[in-house]
Symmetry: D2
Subunit: 151 residues, 4 copies
């Protein structure tokens, strides 16, 4: 193997997280975050370019996202890139790229007075999934998903 797939992002939520609670109590949250960089164009004018990233978090992290993350807030995200294939309605192969996060730290909001803070990781102990024993299956294992989810 000898492979590494790691992403580190700091950006602001473009929307409130959308959370789904699957059978078995497993939670999944999705939200977009924006990163932006500024550069000078050929004429020397300052330009800004925004990149949008689709974040997915599972279990305990999803519950944290549901409770604490809001549109506009700044978060630190550590995770991996995952590209899914699907067929569109015309039957063409399409690709969708997401960041599956296994570590998330709130960095405070826009202007809402929240002081931010709080680091959360994808571990069994932070999961409240009923009856779940994800044990060594924690953050680090990169196997933190049920095998047959409907997407």
């Amino acid at each position: 193997m000898a492979s590494v797939n790691k992403v580190i992002l700091i950006g602001n939520l473009g929307k409130d997280p959308e959370v789904r609670h699957l059978e078995g109590g497993v939670a999944v949250a999705r939200f977009p975050i924006a990163t932006s960089e500024s550069y000078k164009d050929k004429s020397g004018n300052k330009q800004e370019k925004t990149e949008w990233h689709n974040i997915v978090v599972w279990r305990g992290l999803a519950e944290v996202a549901e409770k604490y993350l809001k549109k506009g807030q700044s978060v630190f995200i550590e995770g991996k890139i995952r590209t899914s294939q699907y067929q569109d309605k015309e039957g063409n192969q399409r690709y969708s790229t997401e960041i599956v996060a296994d570590n998330m730290t709130m960095l405070g909001g826009r202007s809402d007075g929240s002081t931010g803070g709080g680091n959360y990781q994808e571990t069994a102990s932070s999961s409240s999934s009923a009856g779940g024993n994800y044990g060594g299956n924690a953050s680090a294992t990169q196997n933190d998903e049920p095998d047959d989810l409907p997407f």
Copy 2:
């Protein structure tokens, strides 16, 4: 701003790099790399999942890729995520995600006896672009692209 967009990958090239030399002598290389992770499925059987990443490198790094990188080789890549929008032939909005690398280190090949090695970064000094003085425009500025490229 306060944003960060960073990707770190170690994986193997799925194909030889495709290199284009643009007007002005600027080179661009593209190649896919695979990362894989193994996990146990519900039955306890070991499974492997491969993720493919489309890498883009510019200038000096593209020239290094052209000369030294071959299908099967292992590379360390540091860069950022960039998602481009385009319209498909039906006029639908599509997205394509790439990793724009600004640091690349060869880690040796499959079994070809090459010992690998060599770290390369997106700096002016590693660029042989004719007449180019990219100065502070180096790796770090994240502004390492011409403004109007045909893709």
Copy 3:
């Protein structure tokens, strides 16, 4: 070669930066930042452990640090580990480890109402050093120090 030395930190400044302006107009700033992690001890009580990191920044980044960073503020730091050897007064070999930063992003302060923000990188263009043309010598080259500094 084939080597990588990369550090990513988010933490709070323990003190205001100490800035020195060397001959030639080159600036160096140093400041400590704290990272902390919480864990449960054997009795199940929540404990917190703080780690201190000595940050060093050069040139433009040092000037940014001097102007904008204050004790208590939160920063994102990207850099490399550097351990220096020196002899103490008894003539014993000692080691001192620092983080030489080449990318720095302010993440906002404690409670002072500052909204933070602002990404800065070690590039020629962000340096105001008189007469300096650090060109390709930017962030990425990891050669961003004069050769014979008095420490």
Copy 4:
């Protein structure tokens, strides 16, 4: 909190790992790795500077290190910086900085024909510690040490 302490290294082992098996079956391995960077000095001559990092791995990763890592080999290390304080024999406060790894990937050796490969993470499942149930205590929790070790 809102803090992050992350290190990513690729380097070569300067020595074989030294492994200790503590009471309770917990293993700890230590080994130095070298990273090097090349730069041009003022006279334009190529210089190389080597940085040494002291790596510490626990439990399953220590056992992997004991079995598979040898002097000269190349490894990818992901972990965190930890600086310990101690008093030298003269009673002076001293500091020692180590990298506590929670992810380790062998990248192959010098010239010994080993093909390398293999990613290992600090999870319960990769640990063979007798009777251990490190469960959610895995890699990600950053609490992967017994509370009162003799160093």
